[in-house]
């Protein structure tokens, strides 16, 4: 005891500046500085600017004045805005659920030993590789009211008599853009879940086989619980991407017919850039924040380390 105290006193006095630099926490802050600057510059600044704009009456070419929540009050009474909220939720929920189901199914399929595995994996990735706008244009053709290949095939088969107006009527258009989004999004879900599946040790399945588990029981009691952390990550990203989707809609329908496929993102763009009402467009974008935050909160809880993932020390 005495010894230790003596030794501590013997340490030569150091300047405040040196001590500050050697302090773990201070040093930590120093190291975080570049990253923090980066985040501020590229994330916080645009976000802050967007929120600020939503509180002004800025138009293109004219710096706005602060008008408080007037934009939001206006939007509150705007039925097109509410329609876009409804569309966005419908689009996100339906597409995400189906993407998850198909993605999981494909991942399970590809995790088995099937013929031409590498080839099929490559095919599954394809929609992911094609640029969104390109695939949107392709879908635009596929869903064209005159030249749709689907209509053509169905007519040839004698199932329908007339071309289907895929993008011309509200519900058809919604279904069509959701279909296109699913087509684009499935690879991401499938490949990520496949990566997750491959981290499950084979010996667990062997142990379960001997314990008498059927294929379904293995999925239910081993695969699924071990996959939940990955599912949480994938679905968070999937929901965020879908909720903020812009390209696909804009290239296929521009929000039509009669705003039936307008998402909040496309409506915001239309009002802000095309309509010139920067303040109002920014307000629509800002209105997306609560939705996104709640999605993130939801997955944050989903992502919590489960009890079984913790080591002894976390007890």
């Amino acid at each position: 005891m005495l010894d230790a105290a003596a030794r501590q006193n013997a340490v030569a006095p150091v300047s405040f500046w040196t001590r500050l630099n050697e302090n773990r926490n201070v040093l930590g802050l120093w190291f975080m500085l570049p990253a923090a600057a980066f985040l501020l510059l590229f994330l916080a600044y645009p976000l802050g600017l967007g929120i600020w704009l939503s509180l002004t009456d800025a138009r293109i070419g004219r710096a706005g004045e602060f008008i408080g929540v007037e934009n939001f009050v206006w939007l509150w009474g705007d039925s097109v805005f509410w329609l876009s909220v409804f569309n966005t939720l419908l689009y996100t929920i339906v597409a995400s659920v189906i993407k998850f189901a198909i993605g999981l199914y494909l991942a399970l399929l590809l995790n088995n030993n099937i013929a031409f595995k590498a080839f099929i994996r490559a095919i599954v990735l394809l929609p992911f590789i094609v640029p969104t706008v390109l695939s949107a244009i392709a879908f635009w053709w596929i869903f064209d009211s005159q030249f749709s290949i689907i209509s053509w095939a169905l007519i040839e088969l004698g199932i329908i008599e007339q071309n289907i107006d895929f993008l011309g009527t509200p519900n058809n258009a919604r279904a069509s853009v959701i279909f296109a989004n699913i087509w684009r999004g499935v690879p991401f879900v499938a490949i990520t879940l496949l990566a997750g599946l491959q981290t499950v040790p084979q010996s667990l399945y062997e142990a379960a086989t001997i314990d008498g588990a059927s294929k379904w029981a293995m999925f239910r009691h081993i695969t699924y619980p071990l996959l939940t952390p990955i599912i949480a990550v994938v679905m968070t990203f999937s929901v965020l991407f879908t909720f903020t989707d812009f390209q696909l809609i804009y290239a296929m329908t521009r929000g039509g017919p009669v705003n039936a496929t307008h998402l909040m993102a496309t409506l915001s763009y239309q009002r802000a850039i095309l309509g010139g009402n920067l303040g109002e467009g920014a307000a629509i974008s800002t209105a997306m924040i609560p939705f996104l935050l709640s999605a993130i909160m939801f997955s944050w809880f989903g992502l919590q380390r489960r009890k079984w993932q913790q080591g002894e020390s976390d007890d």
Binding site: E206, A207, A208, D211, G212, H221, W308, Q309, E312, D315
Partner: protein, 355 residues
Amino acid sequence: MASVGIHDVRKSFGPVEIIHGVDISIEDGEFVILVGPSGCGKSTLLRMIAGLEKITSGEISIGERVVNQMPPKERDIAMVFQNYALYPHMTVSENMAFSLRLRRTENSIVTERVHIAAEILGLMPLLDRYPRQLSGGQRQRVAMGRAIVRDPQVFLFDEPLSNLDAKLRVQMRTEIKELHQRLRTTTVYVTHDQIEAMTMADKIVVMHDGIVEQIGAPLELYDNPANRFVAGFIGSPAMNFMSGHITGANGSASLRTEGGIDLPLGAGAPAASDGRPAVYGVRPEHFILSDQGAEASVVVVEPTGSEIQVVADMGGDHVVAVFRERHDLKPGQKIHLQPNPELVHLFDSDNGQRL
């Protein structure tokens, strides 16, 4: 409990045959150890008994039933894996209960059986922990608990102790043996550690390159190895082998090594075999230090406390001798090593069979 019969079993992966016709019969309640060097096909054979691998040809039966086509869950076996394969998201008790739950066993029975197994293995205080929160030895015990709970006909173990440290391994060895004496369940146990095999088995099956070299009780393999492979594999430190040819006639025959050393053969030496090439085998512990006997010079002395191990150069051959007495030997020192002629082994120099 049941006997296990393995009849001319072969296994190929693609065009490569890994197991070339194996015959083993395991009696009810027996503790049988499959031992052999890495890659000889022990795990493959065990997995065929479990039903995790298909049998290419031959027949495996458990009890009265031929199980070739039977899925694992109907074979009524339990397996302990080398990496334990505990379900990470289930607690110790859920891990143990899993197989019973799958069979929709009544809750009270499940709890009771899990508790009995946990009691036997000293797992009661750990029932609510997750596998990550256990030490290696505890995980090993949970893996055994999972097997015990099912009360199967046969236990299969695939190198269950190889992930444990040396001390724990010795302790678990005793525990597994004790468990077997208590439950008397037929057990097939795979290891590449011959000490584990010697200490635990009722019967050892020595495998090598997909064939069975010899089957027998531990001491039988030690005393009467059927061939040079078994002789070299069983026993630690390994048996010394010296090639040479037999000289002299019956009664006072000896073997002259390539280095020109004469080594005595016992009365059991093969008759009328003057000049025949052969391999002389003697275990390190069957040398005595004396005034006569073969001359050798000490190379390395390795005391372990309970004994000393001496590596010596005997006419160009390196031999290992082990003494319980504490001889004071120095490297370079000339000594005389006398093998006990009644305990030496002679093998054919071509096919390695015992002569």
